[in-house]
Amino acid sequence: MSKQYTLMDHLQGQGITRRGFLKFCSITATMLALPPSLIPQIAKALESAKRPSVIWLSFQECTGCTESITRSHAPTIESLIFDFISLDYHHTLQAASGHAAEAAREQAMKDNEDQYILVVDGSIPTGNPGFSTIAGIDNKQMLIDTAKHAAAIVAVGTCATYGGLPHADPNPTNAVAVSDIIKDKPIINVPGCPPIPIVMTGVLAHFLTFGTIPDLDDLGRPKMFYGNSIHDRCYRRPFYEKGLFAETFDDEGAKAGWCLFKLGCKGPTTYNACATAKWNEGTSFPIEAGAPCIGCSQPDFWDNGGFYNALSQPTISIGETAAAAIAAGAVASVAASAIHKSAKAKAAKKHHTVTTDDME
């Protein structure tokens, strides 16, 4: 086997010096949300790091995740593809299509057996296999086949991680998450609708750097990016604590930047890096733009009872339930009273009036 092409080889090929490499390492630390004190370790790891082969499969999805990753700014998508990974199959981004594309996937799988990373966006329909197919292969089959010799799987976006929009009530295609089908491989969940671009690239950079799975939380998300809730890092938090809430999107409170809880903010129960990593090349994040967090990196966020309803509000419509309960209550109490009255009447009938004569 020929010597694998390492990241160092690649950078040296571009004429980058050792000093340039060390700079690269310090920037990588930032991308991985690691403290600068770890730079020497990162340098050591990167010296021998090989660019992993990446196969990217898209199932029932809207391509928003791919749209998002192409907006990554650190690294840019070009740099990600050329410096960090070897993107061997991605049917939206690659030039080839049809059988040529499938051949590229099969080739990459063979060349990098048990080494490649499988990235998946989109959920998998388990109803009719014909609901979603690629080159005549249904999604579930393609996932099983491609996952078989993957080193690890990165499920990207809320559809691949938790089912997302296709899984939302009434889930017509019986859509499920990657983790519902693949049980014997390490899976890194990178949810979000879409995920933050630099979080996706950061996870891949972590792979390149350390060749390991990052620390995951109980929903399978890397703790370095999903360790804090939006609310924990929200700059509007002081207003929440004081109980100062915007009531509408254009009242005085909204203009003064008060907390968006009453407008439906799901920040307190949403774990993601939006408040620090931000969007659009670090410009801002939804709450900074005046919109409540919709909780898009949490399971079933579509079915949480409305994006603009407060977290403390029930998610069901009350009317019918209340009417049914009232009717049932009325019927039950009338019935109970009737039973009670007849019992009373019976008891009264059995009652003999006792006179003084009886006592003698």
Binding site: R18, R19, G20, F24, S26, P36, A74, E78, T276
Partner: protein
Amino acid sequence: MNSAVKVCTHQNAIPILHEIKHALLKLAENNQATTIDLSSLPMTSQDTEQLLSTLGKGEVNVTLTSAGESTFWETQFPGVWVTQHQPHFSSKQLTYIEICLFPSLLMAQQADITDGLNRLQEIMS
């Protein structure tokens, strides 16, 4: 110096100034260097702007052109440096505050020295 701190009123800049003060103390006493990565902190662009303007500019200015351009400058507080990378692979500038005698990235690296030595010998032979 007190007046400079007063200029910096935005909430997130103050704790970082405190951190810089502590780091500078460590540098003065034990020659211990610290790096603060501003992109990992929940800062708004106004926060960063205010912090940098409070720190001001000192007497050293360096440009590094390797894997994208980087600028280094010493602030008006000797030992406190600002490093800004414009990585070749990124479209966003990354800003760090380094509290050290001299940013280590600017020092010549052993591998590069050897490489340069070879090239020099080649020219001279």
